[in-house]
């Protein structure tokens, strides 16, 4: 039986949080300057 890698052990829920936090940080540090709607 193969063992799941650490990345696969992170739940989808947690990935969504990490992605959202990363996107917010990109905005905060000026990488994403404007996000049109």
């Amino acid at each position: 039986m193969s063992q799941a890698s650490p990345l696969h052990r992170i739940s989808l829920d947690t990935w969504a949080v990490l992605l959202a936090l990363a996107a917010a940080l990109l905005v905060r540090f000026g990488v994403l300057k404007t996000v049109p709607w």
Partner: protein, 365 residues
């Protein structure tokens, strides 16, 4: 037969995300979500521009409704081809990311005030809804574990709660398929009914948002039903629904202990670890972003940008709500679970409406 068909559509979202799919395999479906969502946005702008150019007063129908309708039209006519399905199932992922980012539009004080009111109402709603659904299910002679799944699904948070409870109480897959199908079908109906009722009762944005967050089961449908009313109502609906989601671990733990005491489920050995496993992590993400917004970590322009990122994430979600709903297959479920779910939903909607009116009177929402 019917249950396997339901499983394909209803539990499909969860199953497909869990199945090992390469990142490249998700791209077509995510692209379809973006196209359908953006088409909704385009139609909203097109109608507004057309009305302006021709001096016509046309109804302002939000992109939310267009995106859901286009998705529904595709899934209920030509169907969603297999190549798109795993990517379409990521709509729940975008929903959670969107909720975390929405935290930027709340100051922690608002979260405490509205969240506090929500939690009080949720405690009352949970107690009444779980009791009512249990007696109703028994009255209709449904299998006891199916009753538990329907009670959890209609009182807390739809599909996620049913999936969380299914493993914890060792329920049959067929039972959870019935419960999920009933909750999804009722969610699709409430998506269109709630805004109509809200307008008929002249509910304020806050009161309507709170009601939607308390009464609509699935987080995606609650978010969409709130956004269909107004932007402000959508915000409040997400906050109230997020508070409701936060209770999932406690209720599922309660049922797991109950069924284990009857020798029909495995014992819960580490209750703390169980609670953490079932706790929706996006609630924490939402609080972190809200805290950062409150302490001035973001400038005003940056807050607007983060808020817009949240809107884009929700746009993908709303497209997914329509694309994953196949009404014909959902309606193939047994009539009794649906009837129990429907009666339960109506009663829960009335109870929560009463609670919201009460809260409005005392807290001036």
């Amino acid at each position: 037969m019917a249950s396997s068909a339901i499983r394909t559509t209803a539990a499909g979202a969860a199953a497909e995300v869990k199945a090992p799919v390469s990142a490249a395999g998700l791209i077509p479906g995510i692209a379809l979500l973006a196209v359908v969502g953006y088409a909704g946005k385009f139609i909203e702008h097109f109608i507004a521009a057309y009305g302006k150019a021709h001096h016509l007063v046309l109804p302002n129908i939000e992109y939310v409704l267009w995106a859901i309708l286009i998705g529904l039209a595709i899934s209920n006519t030509v169907g969603v081809p297999a190549i798109f399905r795993s990517g379409v199932a990521t709509y729940e992922f975008w929903l959670k990311a969107g909720i975390v980012l929405l935290g930027a539009r709340f100051l922690l004080g608002d979260v405490r005030r509205l969240g506090g009111v929500s939690l009080v109402l949720i405690a009352i709603e949970l107690a009444l809804a779980l009791t009512f659904m249990t007696y109703l299910g028994r009255g209709f002679k449904l299998k006891p574990k199916l009753v538990t799944l329907l009670a959890v699904g209609s009182s807390i948070c739809g599909v996620s709660a049913i999936i969380a409870a299914q493993g914890a109480i060792d329920a049959d897959e067929e039972d959870s398929s019935y419960a999920i199908a009933a909750i999804l079908l009722l969610g699709a109906i409430s998506l269109f009914l709630f805004p109509l009722i809200g307008h008929a009762l002249h509910l304020s944005d806050q009161a309507y948002g709170l009601w939607t967050g308390l009464a609509v089961d699935n987080t995606a449908e609650a978010t969409a039903a709130g956004a269909l009313y107004s932007d402000a109502a959508g915000k409040v609906a997400v906050l109230a629904k997020t508070c409701r989601n936060a209770t999932i671990g406690f209720v599922v733990l309660g049922y797991a202990i109950y069924w284990a005491s009857k020798g029909q489920a495995a014992e819960v050995e580490n209750k703390g670890a169980f609670l953490w496993r079932k706790f929706p992590k996006f609630v924490l993400g939402f609080l972190v972003i809200s805290l950062l917004a409150t302490v001035g970590f973001f400038s005003k322009t940056q807050l607007a940008a983060v808020g817009n990122l949240s809107r884009w994430a929700f746009l993908l979600t709303f497209a997914g709500v329509g694309l994953r709903t196949n009404l014909r297959e959902l309606s193939k479920q047994g009539a009794r679970p649906f009837l129990v779910g429907a009666v339960g939903e109506i009663v829960i909607a009335l109870i929560t409406l009463g609670l919201v009116f009460g809260a409005d009177h005392f807290y001036h929402l």
